[in-house]
């Protein structure tokens, strides 16, 4: 902590405040637990209908289906993250709070990331139980989840605030976000395949690519969030 300057500490404090607020709202409203989590599991079940209940096929595709379910759920979590700011003039409150916009961005992204990690835990159980997946490389899998989730949450929060001001954001956000997070889905799937023993490749280069993606969008978000929030 001594290495960080006062500014960085303030930024982290602001981020923690916002993340705490968002997570408290989610815990009390239970929208993520009551709606997004069942939706994610339902997607896993629907994939089984699409791909024949042939266990071999589902097991081989488990990594990709897992990350598709996470990506679709992420869309809902991000919509939700900005829906709570649009009611009761919450965005004006946020703007007038004097918190650092970069801190607000980090906080909102962190709250989305925590929700997604919880969902990934649930979906992981689902994939093991429903698809008969074999979790071999636990370290690789954990690193993949952390890096991919950071990227999804950061990019999602950038596009969430981009689309926040417009009327048709529910349909616009997927069109904007899905091509952006396409490399995350691709890289996370390949790394998870390696971790599940479905591919004889090294998963770590993919994890590094996920890390680069996350760093890019954390930087974009930290720079762009101020003007975007100010003008909304």
């Amino acid at each position: 902590m001594l290495l960080l300057g006062d500014d960085a500490l303030l930024l982290l404090r602001d981020a923690a405040l916002i993340a705490g607020k968002d997570l408290r709202v989610e815990l009390r409203s239970r929208v993520t637990i009551n709606q997004v989590a069942p939706f994610a599991v339902l997607v896993l079940v629907l994939f089984a209908f699409a791909l024949e209940p042939d266990r071999g096929l589902l097991t081989r595709a488990a990594a990709g289906l897992f990350w598709l379910a996470v990506t679709f759920s992420a869309l809902l979590a991000i919509q939700r993250s900005f829906a709570i700011e649009s009611a009761d003039g919450a965005r004006d409150g946020l703007r007038l709070s004097g918190l650092d916009p970069a801190g607000i961005f980090l906080g909102k992204a962190a709250a989305v990331a925590v929700e997604l990690l919880a969902l990934e835990g649930l979906l992981g159980v689902g994939v093991v139980v429903l698809y008969d997946a074999d979790l071999q490389g636990a370290t690789l899998l954990l690193a993949t989840c952390l890096a991919a989730t950071a990227g999804l949450a950061a990019a999602g929060t950038v596009y969430g605030v981009l689309a926040a001001g417009v009327r048709v954001r529910e349909t616009l956000l997927p069109l904007l976000l899905l091509p952006i997070v396409a490399p995350v889905v691709l890289a996370a799937t390949r790394a998870s395949e390696a971790a599940l023993g479905q591919a004889a490749t090294d998963g770590w280069p993919w994890v590094r690519l996920l890390g680069v993606f996350a760093v890019i969008y954390v930087a974009v978000g930290a720079l762009a969030f101020g003007p975007l929030l100010e003008d909304a």
């Binding site: 950038v158 048709v168 904007l176």
Partner: protein, 241 residues
């Protein structure tokens, strides 16, 4: 006025070179390997070049709008125009590629790294154009779309690595093995170069037309606002009188 003359000259030059490409391209002899389809080389690579050019212009114009020193509505209009023309050319690139791929590879589409990147590029451009369509306020739209445009570009290197690794890790198929450019003779190259000039001129002409339309729409909005304010003011005066 001078702009109109340049516009007109650009349009004529584009039409003439496009017609030349068409005539010369159709008179190219069929090749042994690819038969009649080899002629697509007169249009497909030039269209692909313009698709990337349009994406690049959109990115640079977005950056210039974002930098405080160069911020001007002109860059916003240019980015908007370039993205829309880019959608047309990127779609044409994918369509002409598929028309060539079907007889040559036997399939309309392969999950080649370059094809996948182009498809993602089209999706990014469509998102950008859709974002512009739904924003109401001009200033807000300029900010939002400049950030969206630039953040679509910064992800391209990551996309590139992801799809390249993906395809090379799985199978070694690549466009290079079947690309027509490996055994081209002079006649084909000459027609392709005419095609490059024609498509670039067509892009410039479309870009300039679209830019002008964007400027007219903006001035119409400004005039509309001024008129509305004037009307309200008159109503107020009349109510007092």
């Amino acid at each position: 006025m001078r702009g109109r003359i340049i516009d007109g000259l650009l349009g004529i030059a584009a039409a003439v070179t496009l017609a030349t490409t068409l005539l010369l391209g159709l008179r190219l002899p069929p090749t042994q390997e690819q038969d009649e389809y080899a002629r697509l080389i007169a249009v497909h690579p030039p269209i692909a070049w313009v698709a990337y050019l349009a994406f690049g212009v959109m990115a640079i114009a977005s950056l210039l709008w974002l930098l405080p020193a160069t911020r001007s509505r002109r860059w916003d209009r240019l980015a908007a125009a370039s993205a829309e023309v880019g959608v047309v050319f990127t779609s044409l690139m994918l369509i002409t590629g598929a028309i060539w791929g079907r007889p040559t590879w036997g399939v309309w589409w392969v999950w080649d790294a370059r094809l996948t990147l182009s498809a993602l590029m089209l999706a990014l451009l469509l998102g950008y154009v859709a974002l512009r369509r739904v924003s109401v306020d001009t200033e807000r739209r300029a900010l939002v779309s400049a950030i969206a445009g630039l953040s679509a570009v910064v992800v391209i290197p990551v996309n590139h690595f992801a799809v390249t690794w993906w395809r090379t890790l799985h199978q070694g198929r690549s466009l290079a093995q079947v690309a027509p450019s490996s055994q081209l003779d002079g006649e084909y190259i000459a027609v392709m170069l005419v095609g490059f000039v024609a498509m670039t001129l067509t892009f410039a002409w479309l870009l300039s037309r679209r830019y002008r339309v964007e400027a007219l729409v903006e001035s119409l909005e400004d005039v509309g606002l001024a008129t509305a304010i004037e009307e309200r003011r008159r109503e107020g005066v009349e109510a007092f009188a």
